[in-house]
Homo-oligomer: 249 residues x 2
């Protein structure tokens, strides 16, 4: 089943402009384009769009959503479970707000006194949550990499040994990266080795490989704090190395 942009817009309630915008920022690209350049979306794109909307409902920024969805550890089922928890939290929050409102009404009628703090109960908590969400710490910490990775591996049809290779490669990558980074030259031979390893590592989860996506991903490692810290401050080095690697094919 394929859909034009108008059909997707009508189906999802998202405007055409928004869909184009999502493509521009690399968040949701149609599965293909017609001969004359028309966008053609597929079922997978609808699933992705739904994900985007759920996250947006939780007030995540598009760039944050992007990094979540492009993360090799992304697993739809864990994501849905997490979204459920967060949406429930949001609903509870709304309930607190309604309580505050009720109190304010009572105060108005002279049936109750309110302190200044009480007047803003239900608004403030939100801010803390938003911050936590922005950096997605909760999302990450709640499921150790292990679970999500395994789920993902299964979905990609890896067997136990392939999975072990995958994780081993991931660890080795981290090692080699910090070694190479110490030398400081992202064009060095060892840096190129790291870049090649990274590409191989992505191969385990990335059905099809594209240099552009690879470039974007490592750029994201730099932009997104979570990745940056996962790569222990070597995200920039990794980016430069991979870019240089890809430049020289």
């Amino acid at each position: 089943m394929e859909y034009t942009i108008k059909q997707v817009a009508k189906l999802s309630g998202v405007t055409q402009r928004a869909l184009r915008h999502y493509e521009q920022v690399g968040l949701l690209s149609p599965r293909r384009k017609s001969g004359s350049g028309y966008r053609i979306y597929g079922k997978e794109d609808l699933v992705r769009l739904q994900q985007i909307l759920f996250y947006r409902e939780l007030n995540l920024g598009l760039s944050t959503i992007k990094s979540i969805c492009l993360d090799p550890d992304f697993d739809l089922e864990s994501a849905l479970t997490e979204q459920k928890r967060l949406l429930q939290e949001k609903r509870d929050q709304l309930d607190r707000l309604l309580l505050t409102l009720e109190h304010t009404l009572q105060e108005r009628k002279g049936e109750r006194m309110m302190t200044d703090q009480e007047r803003f109960e239900g608004f403030k908590r939100q801010l803390v949550e938003e911050n936590e969400k922005q950096y997605g710490k909760e999302v990450r910490e709640r499921y150790g990499k292990e679970t999500a990775q395994r789920a993902n591996a299964q979905m990609m049809g890896m067997d136990e040994s392939a999975y072990n290779e995958f994780t081993a490669l991931g660890e080795k990558l981290l090692e080699k990266l910090s070694e190479a980074a110490k030398l400081g030259d992202p064009t060095s031979v060892s840096a190129m080795e790291v870049a090649r390893m990274h590409k191989r590592w992505l191969g385990y989860t990335w059905g099809e490989y594209s240099a552009e996506a690879h470039r974007n991903l490592v750029q994201m490692y730099v932009d997104d704090e979570r990745f940056a810290s996962y790569y222990q401050g070597n995200a920039e080095f990794l980016r430069d190395a991979v870019h240089h690697f890809l430049d020289n094919n």
Copy 2:
């Protein structure tokens, strides 16, 4: 009890920048400024801020909130009741979303099939609601002017006869306005009379009068559809008349 901007920010969870912004757009001005220009907020300002936050939670734009709060017919108690209803609606919406999420999870586990429409149930309804809210039709229609006006009058300490004068003046204003508008000249003598009447009319509800607020208000009559229609297409004329009136003191 008075508060500096920092205290208000801490109390409410709103940033200082946002508070300054609210002042800039004429939404929330501190009750006074200290000798050295420091913003000093009072209890009334906190109540107003709470109102703003409730409306923001409902995704109303600042300009819409402004017109609601500056409306001579604004009544806190009706507003709170209405907010309660809308927030409850929003919570129900969240529940629908959670249902969709649950269905998607089940689909993932192969326990259920989903149509494309179902996948976006709970998102789309939102759009319609947002539109209705934007123009605040519900908010207005739910309480005829009568109720709110009476409540407001009571709060301002008007007695029955003052209230009658107030409403009579309001009606006469509409009449004279449309008469004057027919002539087309907003600087005419009859236009100036209308402007003076409008000022007098505001006097009933405005505690203290300020020319700037008056200018803003009539500008809003033009910008906001609801007022524009209340003044039967003569909002622009009224604005020009009042501005000219104020220019010539």
